[in-house]
Amino acid sequence: MAADSLINWGLLSLNAPGWGGVLLQGFFNSIQIAVGGFTLGLALGIGGAFGKLYGGPVLRDLLECYTTVVRAVPELVLILLLYYAGTDLLNQVLALFAIGPVDISGLMAGIFVIGVVQGAYSTEVLRGAIKAVPAGQIEAARAYGMSPTKVLRRITLPAMLPYAIPGLSNLWLIATKDTALLAVVGFSELTLVTRQAAGTTKAYLLFFLAAGALYLALTLVSNVFIGMLERHARRGFAVQR
């Protein structure tokens, strides 16, 4: 039986001869980058969405260029460009202040790269969500004499949340999968670690399927939480059929 001898479950054990621990460490790195990148993207997205809706013409056009470029160029190419350009730029800036070149950790670079890509997408998602908030609510808040930041904090952000959550949850799932692209620049996240493990032990199918199961588990668990969040955010809305 060829299939029986192909599966050596011992390879997945957590201790030294097995690669399970290495795989989980890579998985942990992936989750860290996804969380960091998504959060950075959300911050960029909130800024970008407000800039696009309420900013001046120059700011609006610059943001339009940003979202257009990110949405038209493959993530893989953007990751390569940002990875090299970002680290290069930082070192040149540091050199201006007469500080020697620093070695930027792969984790920070990864979070930066995923965050910049996610920022463009969340700008679009949040812009749509803010536009879906009835204008009368914001006008009412202004009529009460609230300052712009207070309107943002009390009305716009909470009211847009139900409209933003489907798009943002989609972006979170994209972020978890985009971390795999960092394997191409040599950051040891789950996919690259899996490839190394598979190449060393020649048990390709076993390791790739194990990594797939980990990614799938992350997606399914995320979906459960997203469902709960969405139900919470949409409470009081008319039930759609």
């Binding site: 460009l81 798009g167 989609n170 799932l173 999968k177 394997a183 191409v184 390709y204 797939g212 990614y215």
Partner: protein, 274 residues
């Protein structure tokens, strides 16, 4: 996981600038600044390698486009039954289709590609039956694995879109078809499929643009597309930015052409009341 959300990610026809909107004072200034930047890039960066690699770049672009269109067409042909059985099929067809969509959409494309190329690719030579079959010369190449991975991924995302589109066709139209005495196949061919495709067309086009952005992944399994050619340039000339900037420009042009083509295509389909 709703269909509208792909629109925020994909570059759609609404994002294209109109010709008239360019002639606003601040935009003219910005364009001048940008033109100065382009001139600076052209003058101060090294581009002497470009003529040598131009034929190979052309081939690379062609390979990328062939990858895109072949996998989009094959994937769409798979997506129609996957979407359909999720709407009307019996449970033993509905369940596998749902599981297929969930699994493929829940794992990274790069991992699927490597699973097929390294995993199956290392498994096939162990079976003499496969080594002696007529398929073996193809299975030793890299591109069938790239095509397979991209097709499967496209089919899963599109299957979900088509499920929504099939479910969204107004039941009155299907009832009217039934009242005309159409058989199930005629009804599907004349009413249900065309209406579903019509409804899903903007999303389908968006997904095709996203598929273009997935094609460079096949370069990681040694398919020589435009991304692989640029990687080769980077290795041989030791340049970091110039080839990558050119690559980004190439993909932006391809996306732009694709989006404009889709817009003309969409506008040619008559829509009443829209």
């Amino acid at each position: 996981m709703t269909n509208e959300t792909t629109h925020a990610v994909a570059f759609t026809p609404e994002d294209l600038p109109t010709a008239r909107s360019f002639f606003v004072p601040h935009r003219i200034v910005m364009m001048l600044v940008f033109a100065a930047f382009v001139v600076a890039v052209a003058v101060f960066m090294r581009w002497d390698w470009l003529p040598r690699y131009l034929p190979r770049l052309g081939w690379g672009i062609l390979v990328s486009l062939v990858m895109l269109f072949s996998t989009a067409i094959l994937g769409f042909l798979l997506a129609v039954p996957i979407g359909l059985v999720q709407v009307t099929g019996p449970w033993f067809l509905k369940l596998p289709a749902k599981v297929f969509c969930t699994v493929i959409r829940g794992t990274p494309l790069l991992l699927q590609l490597w699973l097929l190329y390294y995993g199956l690719g290392s498994l096939f030579p162990q079976f003499p039956a496969i080594r002696q079959s007529f398929l073996w010369p193809y299975l030793r190449e890299a591109w069938p694995y790239g095509v397979a991975a991209l097709t499967v991924s496209f089919a899963a995302y599109e299957g979900e879109v088509m499920r929504g589109a099939f479910a969204g066709v107004p039941p009155g139209e299907l009832e009217a078809a039934k009242a005309y005495g159409m058989g199930r196949w005629t009804m599907f061919r004349r009413i249900w499929l065309p209406r579903a495709i019509h409804r899903a067309l903007p999303t389908l086009n968006g997904e095709t643009v996203l598929q273009l952005k997935s094609t460079p992944l096949v370069a990681t399994v040694t398919v020589v597309d435009v991304y692989a050619v640029i990687s080769k340039v980077r290795q041989e000339t030791f340049l970091t930015y110039e080839p990558l900037l050119l690559l980004a420009l190439i993909y932006m042009c391809l996306t732009g052409i694709l989006v404009v083509a889709f817009r003309t295509f969409e506008n040619r389909i008559p829509t009443r009341g829209a």
